[in-house]
Amino acid sequence: MRTILYLIQKELLQILRNKTMLPIIFIVPIIQLLVLVHAATLEMKKIDMYIVDKDLSSTSRGIVQKFESSPFYYVNHHSFSIQDAENELKKGNIDIILHIPFGFESELVKGNNPGLQLLIDAINGTAAGLIQSYTQAVLADYNREIMLKWASPGMKEKPLSIEITRSFWYNPELNYKTYMVPGILVLLVTLIGMILTSLNLVREKELGTAEQINVTPIRKYHFITGKLFPFWIIALFELAFGLFIGKLIFDIPIVGSLGLLFLFAAVYLFAILGVGLFISTLASTQQQVMFINFFFMLLFILMSGLFTPVETMPDFAQVINIANPMAYFMRVNRMILLKGSGFYDVLPEFISVSIYALIVLSLAVWRYRKTV
């Protein structure tokens, strides 16, 4: 026990003395939160719209006016040629074309259900989906208006229609920052746990100090505990620090129990430290370890659901995610912070991550050898 404590003390001393480590611990979380939170905007600010109004009736003008007065749309182009409009779309200058065919109003008056055409640039699928639903909402709104207006004064009853009211649970204003901050906290904790640990272990190999340690009677598990524990503490501290910054700058909601969050993070970190230790056994220089880390981090991050929801990924990707520790914590972190999920709600993830930690840690410890 005394040896472990001394090893931890020595490790912390080295970390605090390291001139690049301290900025990584304190500045990286702030910058990542400030910058990355804006990486995936899920609201539309300025939709460039091209209007091809071949009808030029009062109804079609009404529709155009509706879009022109909306703060989300920027209607800058008008013409009668659908060809010109499509060219602009191909050049990427506009996001959407609204095509009102000739005779729209007269068909409407006759009660023939005339059609409108929307052409949307779907290079960015998420954005296209959003534009489509925004635009449809505007059109539906207008539809209701004219139905009310045209209803004959003699008619007693209102036309039948289904009123849809919406309420976005857990994030009523669809504030994407609320969604992103918990995700980035997961990223941060993983970064510290995995990269710093594996770098630190390989550094000992590279400098030859690992060999000097190997001729001492230090036991393997003493050494590994002494190496992993400081980073476990630092990563948990990082989570607290990140939450503080997130609350201070973005005022993210913290609905659930912080105790539960940290308990989960503590177990999650065992898995991540295990991955870090395992990576360190694969490499003998810091350069190699950086590349291996890069490979794993990219996979973990992009598959984790940080930017795009896991549920929209194909089935095989969701299966791969069973082996992605970040995906579990990403889900749980948002569940606890935004939804206020309790212990029993996150129990499945809790069990999965515990098993994950057990497997990875034992594998890594088995692979880590004192003899070279």
């Binding site: 005394r2 040896t3 001394y6 090893l7 020595k10 001393l13 080295q14 003395r17 390291n18 400098l207 030859g208 100090t209 060999e211 000097q212 340690i213 190997n214 001729v215 001492t216 009677p217 230090i218 003899t371 070279v372």
Partner: protein, 309 residues
């Protein structure tokens, strides 16, 4: 016997690094392992210090099998690796304290043993180890290897890259440690350091050529040695080597050490041959062989055996 090494073989991916190494080190002895770079010295030391497993063979230290009881061995052996492998970002004192703690002891308990070495770097004890000079690093590494009072000290090329004065100082320190009853196994690629050991083993290409006392190695040297010099040393070596009666010709400082295949060839005949080749200021004299001459000769013979075999 303190250390018994029997029949050690080790190969790395088909490359034979050590072949049938067998020798013993007596208690309290200063044993030197001499050989050029890549001869297998470090590999052998890594096997002795439990860092590497041999393919075949046995190592016994104080009657304990190193391969089976490696945990016991680690308390008994102090190892100083060829490369400086202490923590650069810890101070001199912190490094020493770290290794003391790891071995379950304290600096105070064994201060007496390391005092002789450590007192020279103690004024710099708050300096980071990475900022020390080469000689001071060496002393710190030696202090750390000694801190747990080992019975056997294994030093892998401790004087490589150290200036001549520090080298002599270092050997004097080793001699003093030896007097305190510590058995020392040291490797070096400097042949002149061989005469400072009690016994030396000569290793080349993973083969142990001979183990003997340095003075014995010299007395066993059979051939007569000539020291030859002239104005043009480079041409001199080449001319001597191209003569078919030359057994070996090596450059030693300002002269060439020459051995002949036929001992009947006199110094005068050599002078004549050289004059014929246009050399001036020729001097030839019979000299007593040094330890380096013996090693060069032994290695030369081994090479011939290897080539013909």
């Amino acid at each position: 016997m303190t250390l018994n090494i029997t029949d050690i073989n080790k190969s790395f991916e088909g490359l034979q690094a050590l072949t049938d190494i067998t020798f013993s080190v007596k208690e309290g002895e200063l044993f030197g392992l001499i050989g050029p770079d890549g001869s297998g010295k470090t590999t052998l030391f890594r096997i002795i210090t439990t860092l590497l497993l041999p393919d075949r063979g046995e190592v016994n230290l104080f009657g304990i099998n190193v391969l089976e009881n490696y945990k016991k061995i680690r308390q008994l052996v102090g190892y100083m690796a060829g490369r400086f492998s202490l923590y650069h970002d810890l101070t001199v004192e912190e490094n020493l304290k770290f290794y003391a703690t790891v071995f379950g002891t304290t600096i105070e308990k064994n201060y007496d043993l390391i005092k002789d070495v450590y007192c020279q770097i103690e004024p710099f004890k708050t300096r980071k180890a990475g900022k020390l000079s080469g000689g001071m690093k060496q002393k710190l590494a030696l202090s750390c290897a000694l801190i747990h009072k080992p019975k056997l000290l294994v030093l892998d090329e401790p004087t490589t890259g150290v200036d001549a004065v520090s080298r002599m100082e270092f050997w004097e320190m080793l001699k003093r440690l030896q007097k305190r009853g510590i058995t020392i196994l040291v490797s070096t690629s400097y042949m002149d350091e061989a005469s400072l050991c009690d016994r030396v083993g000569l290793i080349q290409k993973g083969n142990l050529l001979s183990v003997n006392k340095p003075e014995k190695i010299i007395t066993e040297y059979q051939k007569e040695l000539l020291s030859v010099s002239s104005d043009n040393l480079y041409k001199l070596v080449n001319d001597l080597r191209s003569e078919k009666n030359t057994h070996s010709a090596f450059l030693f400082g300002q002269s060439v050490h020459l051995t002949r295949k036929d001992q009947n060839i006199t110094a005068e005949q050599v002078v004549k041959y050289l004059q014929h080749n246009g050399h001036e200021n020729i001097r030839v004299k019979v000299i007593k062989p040094g330890i380096e001459d013996c090693f060069m000769d032994l290695m030369n013979e081994e090479d011939e055996v290897l080539l013909s075999g």
